[in-house]
Amino acid sequence: MDSTISPADLAAIWLTIKLATVVTAILLLVGTPLAWWLARTRCWWKGAVGAVVALPIVLPPTVIGFYLLVAMGPHGPLGQLTQTLGIGLLPFTFAGLVVASVIYSLPFVVQPLQNAFEAIPERTLEIASTLRASALDTFFSVALPLAKPGLFTASVLGFAHTVGEFGVVLMIGGNIPDQTRVASVQIYDHVQAMEYTQAHWLSAALLLFSFAVLLLLYTFHPTGKRK
């Protein structure tokens, strides 16, 4: 058994980075407007929406994966939909992983963003509107920059959680090399197969990479400290 990182491991790491990047991007795209709405609306059903978003995390990932698998399968509602749309079936594809990870990691992105948006003083937004900025303009030119620390946290949690997730990914992805076998699944396989040396190396690589990325981010990140 080789004590370094095998090509299969590298492929898994690469796939992980790809998945986490795509998922984080989508999470931010979906989560930001949702969080903004949650932070600003006075709707009575806002609480319900917030609760529903947070709900996926209370179920074990494998179970979520199971339900998603059934829903996205050929007879599930999601599967019917994607088939009608001509996209085909999502399980066992990279796209399927992305969809599942997005659903599962959404609360980790929405919550910090919502907090960041809620912390922006109403007054600041009012000032922008007196300077001719429309609601959308204000959102991009004032709210989003001021919510940077929240965006940062949302990205870190979303990215890291996607990297580490494997219950959902294993179930939906089917562990197919180069397509859905991400690093977390690969490490899991190594541990299951008692290939501890490989598991240690891959874990160490993943940890080191993540640590480097996080350290860089943490050290140079826009501190949210307010005067």
Binding site: T62, F66, L170, N175, Q192, E195, Y196
Partner: protein, 239 residues
Amino acid sequence: QTAQADEKLTIAAAADLKFALDQIVVLFKSTHPAAQIEAIYGSSGNFSTQLRQGAPYDLYFSADIAYPRALKEEGFAASEVQTYGMGRIVLWSLTRDASKMTLADLTDPSIQKIAIANPQHAPYGKRAEEALRASGVWEKVESKLVYGENIAQTAQYVQSGNAQIGIIALSLALSPELAQQGGYALIPDKLHQPLEQGFIITKHGADNTLAHEFAGFITDKQTKAIMTRYGFVLPDAVK
């Protein structure tokens, strides 16, 4: 289907098969140099769930023959269910000489934790429970039991020293990683239902000639030798 597509084969196999199957694949490849074969190991139950949802596996080797049988009945199989081996369970320990132990020794108060696979869904766990019950120690040891998610995790409980002894698959006890550590005692197969393990060619692999060839290769002599070496009792030997 192009000829090229036929050069690819994806096998979903129970985790306990890993050590044997990896070698069988190497062997098979020597006669099919162009073949691209991926063996994916995991939980038999998960694989059967995934196959129902159209997972792209051509062959499915289950640790429990009940799964492929159910799939066959539901029309997800492209072949008959074939038995490829019988699993055996062993007592295994890292810290004491298990080769001289019987199930009755588990009541020893110096043994505080006994690891078995979860009998609820893991086939090896079910057989372990049957054997403990049959030898009349179940009531006495039940409170000492800890349950692994699968047979590998069960072995890890013992390996890490958190459990003093465990009941695991013979195939695992013979694996390169565990063979040098500790010793094992075979549990008589009279004490439990047979652990019949079977495989099928899935609907997905129906047109994959490589899948059919690999299925045929399982009854090859060399293959059988490997299976035996890793602790699987071959179907014909059972009689």
